[in-house]
Symmetry: C2
Subunit: 362 residues, 2 copies
């Protein structure tokens, strides 16, 4: 399925009234908006310039990647080979001078901003919000890519349980998990795979280290993969050898898992077009906070979830203050958690597609 | 081996005369300078602020990662938990107001730059060059991390040859390569693994696709891995089933491989403290350009190499115009290539540590 470049450009300009041109520049890292407009699945395009108006887009790129761009055959994209620095500067100046120019202020480094300023645009406007709004509601090509990424992660989170062994390290389990994903077609992790054993599970962004797996430990895995630039992001929490946990610990772990799962179900049920982000968060948070007279009060220390797409955090997060209204064809994560320092933590995270009357778990 | 935070801060401020404070802010991506100063190997620290003066550094981070920061015990780093948005804004204002503040203009997005401006610093200066200069010459902790990463990639590039099979796709080989690396302790690829079969090898930044491996094909693999945030970056080019290539093709392929290897040896021999980047490039480029009366003239379409470290392109590239003087303890790539559209390409890349009188291939 090919994406429609002109349709995507149209969505962006619709949210950027008065802007005549938009300039997107990669650094050593790709601006996600570069990938959104080009739909490219190959090439790095470091320091390449993408210049758009409402009708189409021009890509200025070096000999190093010119062929890689051409062969991807994006309809509506003119590809211009940069022959040398001075002709390139001249071309960009011609594109920009005197125009109202939009930039992605959430990504564009200060240095490149200053060099765009030198080309004497009529005005520079930060249109990062216009891109985020356009990207919030996914088109069919985007949903297809995310579904593939989600499917791989979901399978890997099931199959990985066979690999749990006493004494293995978090590092080792993370490597096994990444292998599983790439063997199923992931083009790489969408972020560094998080594996936490035991009390490490109380740290939401703990990176795998040499902690060894013991019977009765929590095993928390938070991971995602990339398919054609689109990300998945899921979490599962297990108890390894639960029969060997002490009875007291086991009861506590079991209760935490149930409360988090129930909170997630409540949040997913609350999702439908028209509700606000904060309402979804509230559905899960109120349940956790109110459980057994506030036993877990204050232990859910992050937002309920976030928009997912070209970036793992692809737009708004859904915190208790989030006013963004949920729309059909948004893809969001639902990830309540309970964290108890020194004991451990539970997080359960799924990716859901907002449908016309609810949510489809991917 | 622990890094010396104060020593690193000292190296940066030495190159940033007149600057009183330096502010580093992560986005969803980590500013490499954040990793340079903290030495952290765990945690994401999204939108965390690192504020430095010549004496030490303060990290402002959320409850989500506070514990992850504390447990990494970086000497000379004060860790401050952000309790809420307004107290955070107040604290940052207190740090910045009236001071000459340095930022990393090569990374800091325009949006965050504008928010720093609102805190009324005396002046804002782009100190990105000061960081690059400091990072150019590696300390012992950095060299140890890069060596580990290089060693994994080197082994993987040897072992992967056993996996070559007729009909396999570039995707499949890339997945096998990444698996090999992670099973040897890589914490992830340092960039998307490049695998090119046949004529795809003419495209330096081609991403693996469903192209199938045929007898007599070039197999070009350009890949690297991460160990504790530090990158390796190597390339090998093979011919698969060379006995089944046509004699004419084989002779051409063989010659390209020899010319590139000889060019690389010439460049490595040219490396020593005191020479300029462009001289190393010249050693390889002149050989390729002059071979057989210019048969390969214009086919080496990129720079000879680049500095390597926390980023794959960790400072200057070594182009025919590069004036940077090579110093002891720099780590650089040496990667000449020949690319012939429609036929294929050869690139050979190694990572070398500059020693007091030459270069050590890692």
């Amino acid at each position: 399925m090919a994406h429609n470049l002109k349709e995507r450009i149209g969505k962006v300009f619709k949210n950027a009234a008065g802007v005549e041109k938009i300039v997107i520049v990669n650094t050593g890292i790709q601006d996600p908006n570069f990938l959104y407009i080009t739909g490219f699945t190959s090439g790095l395009f470091e320091y390449s310039y993408l210049v758009m108006d409402e009708k189409g887009a021009k890509l200025f790129t070096s000999a190093l990647e010119y062929e890689t761009a051409v062969e991807q055959d994006a309809k509506g994209l003119d590809i211009i080979k940069i022959e040398n620095r001075s002709s390139f500067v001249k071309m960009i100046k011609e594109e920009i001078e005197g125009s109202v120019v939009g930039i992605n202020g959430a990504f564009l480094p200060y240095q490149i901003y200053k060099s765009i300023e030198k080309h004497k645009p009529g005005k520079i406007e930060d249109v990062s919000e216009a891109f985020l709004k356009a990207r919030l509601v996914k088109d069919a090509d985007e949903v297809a890519r995310i579904r593939k990424a989600a499917s791989i992660t979901k399978w890997a989170l099931m199959l990985i349980q066979k690999e749990f062994k006493e004494g293995m390290t978090e590092h080792q389990l993370a490597a096994k998990f990444d292998n599983l994903c790439s063997s199923m077609g992931s083009q790489g992790p969408s972020f560094r795979t998080i594996v936490c054993f035991g009390k490490d599970a109380a740290l939401p962004h703990h990176f795998p280290d040499d902690t060894k797996l013991k019977y009765g430990d929590f095993v928390l895995i938070d991971a995602g993969c990339l398919v054609d630039n689109y990300a998945s992001d899921m979490t599962r929490t297990f108890v390894f050898g639960r029969e060997k946990a002490t009875l007291k610990d086991y009861k506590e772990m079991d209760e935490m898992m149930k409360v988090v799962k129930d909170a997630q179900v409540r949040a997913i049920k609350a999702i439908r077009p028209g509700v606000k982000g904060k309402e979804i968060d509230k559905a899960a948070r109120d349940y956790i906070e109110g459980f057994k007279d506030g036993k877990y009060k204050g232990t859910f220390i992050h937002s309920l979830g976030h928009s997912l797409g070209l970036e793992v955090h692809d737009g708004p997060g859904f915190s208790p203050r989030e006013e963004t209204v949920i729309k059909k064809d948004m893809v969001i994560t639902v990830e309540p958690g309970i964290y108890i320092n020194g004991f451990g933590g539970v997080r359960i995270e799924d990716d859901v597609l907002v449908t016309k009357d609810g949510a489809l778990v991917l």
